[in-house]
């Protein structure tokens, strides 16, 4: 059993104001618009560890030119939030974990010079030569820009599959949304939490609907692999009673930290 326990702090970094809901929920709610918040997670351990999961999007100007219009309210810059809300400077972090290399999860990687960034080997391989429809999402070399994750490429610490990287911190490979997507299993006082990245965009992806047990994300490379991954998460639910935190659900931001303290009766 891990000795260290962690608290998980979601950090809001702005949003896509007009996002087609079916990009979250494949073949469900096409044409319906929703908001897509960008969320990083700070993990603070009982052992003193300070770990950052994902580093959020580029700035609004870059996004408007290469992706889509964003709404990034004043004060939503990641390093500023770490400093003001948590009194943590970039050099205070122990290391970073990137769930995947899509621009909205990795554009701040270079703001943490010298810090290890854990990424799956498969994710890096795919990011260097993605399908044409994913070139923009990765800001890949074929897209004609130098992506932010490339600026911090020397910091990438590649892992190959499921790996325990620290006391109470496990990386799990969850291919589907992206080829080398990884979730982070975090040991807390309330059991294991899975930061699912965009493997599970919204709680709804996991709770499903009348017809489907789960709804995979609308952005993906391999639908069959995605379903296999959901079977893997089902096994984690069964064996370890994990709790899931999705990658883009506004409801995640309703709590300041996880586990949510129990309300006294």
């Amino acid at each position: 059993m891990p000795k260290a326990t962690y608290r998980i702090y979601p950090i809001y970094l702005g949003e896509i104001p007009e996002h087609d809901k079916s990009s979250f929920t494949y073949m469900v709610d096409m044409g319906k618009k929703t908001t897509c918040p960008f969320i990083s997670f700070l993990l603070l351990g009982s052992n003193g560890r300070k770990i950052l999961v994902d580093t959020g999007p580029c700035d609004a100007e870059w996004a408007a030119e290469y992706h889509m219009p964003l709404n990034i309210p004043a004060g939503c810059e990641l390093t500023a939030i770490l400093k003001e809300r948590f009194q943590i400077a970039p050099e205070d972090l122990d290391y970073l974990i990137c769930t995947h290399l899509h621009w909205d999860h990795s554009c701040g990687n270079h703001k943490f010079p010298g810090k290890k960034i854990y990424v799956q080997k498969r994710e890096l391989e795919y990011a260097l030569d993605p399908l044409p429809i994913h070139r923009g999402t990765y800001e890949s070399p074929q897209y004609g820009v130098v992506s932010s994750w490339v600026k911090a490429k020397d910091q990438l610490e590649l892992v190959d599959g499921d790996t325990e990287i620290d006391d109470g911190i496990r990386l799990v490979l969850l291919p589907g949304h992206s080829d080398g997507m990884q979730g982070v299993l975090v040991h807390t006082e309330d059991g294991e939490y899975l930061l699912a990245g965009d493997c599970i965009n919204l709680y709804e992806n996991w709770t499903g609907n009348a017809k489907l047990r789960h709804i995979i994300g609308g952005l993906h490379s391999d639908v069959k692999a995605y379903f296999k991954t959901y079977e893997k998460i089902e096994a984690l639910e069964r064996d370890e009673h994990i709790r899931i935190i999705p990658g883009h659900d506004p409801a995640v931001l309703e709590h300041e930290a996880y586990p949510v303290p129990h309300t006294p009766v």
């Binding site: 079916s22 096409m30 044409g31 399908l131 429809i133 490379s221 391999d222 639908v223 069959k224 379903f227």
Partner: protein, 258 residues
């Protein structure tokens, strides 16, 4: 000896009346609705009558098992009625090629008892055990249905990759939309025509747009395989492509058109 030539007659077998366009063109035109036909293709030449896909059964079946689809499939456009108007009875059909085994492409296979149905091994293997998302699309046993492609009396011929079926008629394995989708290349007086099945739902999938040279279908199993398929198709020689669900295919009653 010269390779025989054929003509291709697209057969209208009803339509989806409010089809979500992004299901045809992945990530494009979310929320846009369109008319989209169910099609078969009657390929004739060299003394043969060949049917590519057999289309949907009837509106009752669609409503019962595929209730999300708003469709118009009146009895008069059932495949047997349409063939009758062409002066053909089921026994006149020499064989059938199924581009893939989604219900709307094979639901009338049982109308042609004893006739060979050419399909791909990978498609058959997937169709008997698809992921949950595709159970109904295949009418697979997991959702309590019996797929028509496996009905008694049908005679499946299972292919493993690219193959010539008869001189002038070849199939090419093109995974992506489904694991074992195949395109049918037909030799005509005007060169090769490619019946694309749902690998290319509408002309726009193949023509591409400002961002992409080809656009995959919104319904797909593996986009990485799909891109390999597009690369493969780029190298296949053909003069015109005939998509699986585009109304514009019906602009001409016969291909090649003058």
């Amino acid at each position: 000896m010269a390779i025989p030539t054929y003509t291709i007659k697209p057969l209208y077998l009803g339509e989806m009346t409010k089809y979500e366009k992004s299901m045809h063109t992945f990530t494009f035109d979310y929320g846009v609705k369109m008319h989209s036909p169910y099609l078969s293709f009657l390929v004739q030449g060299n003394g043969l009558n060949i049917l590519v896909d057999t289309g949907p059964k009837n509106y009752e079946v669609i409503k019962k098992y595929h209730s999300h689809v708003e469709a118009d499939v009146p009895p008069e456009v059932h495949i047997l009625k349409v063939l009758e108007r062409e002066g053909l009875k089921p026994e006149d059909i020499d064989f059938i090629i199924c581009t893939h085994l989604h219900w709307d492409h094979c639901q009338n296979n049982d109308c042609f008892p004893g006739k060979k149905v050419y399909t791909q091994k990978r498609e058959v293997l997937y169709a008997i055990n698809p992921i949950e998302l595709h159970w109904y699309t295949y009418e697979s046993p997991q959702c309590g249905l019996s797929p028509v492609w496996a009905a008694a009396g049908t005679k499946l011929v299972v292919l493993d990759g690219d193959e010539e079926i008869v001189p002038g008629i070849e199939v090419f394995l093109t995974p992506g939309h489904t694991p074992g989708s195949q395109c049918v290349r037909v030799n005509t007086e005007d060169g090769y025509y490619l019946i694309a099945g749902d690998t290319v739902n509408i002309y726009e999938n193949w023509a591409g747009n400002a961002k992409y040279r080809h656009v995959p279908a919104g319904i797909h199993v593996n986009l990485i395989e799909y891109e390999e398929t597009f690369k493969k198709m780029d190298k296949i020689e053909f003069k015109e492509i005939l998509p699986g669900h585009d109304m514009k295919v019906l602009d001409y009653p016969l291909y090649p058109h003058k």
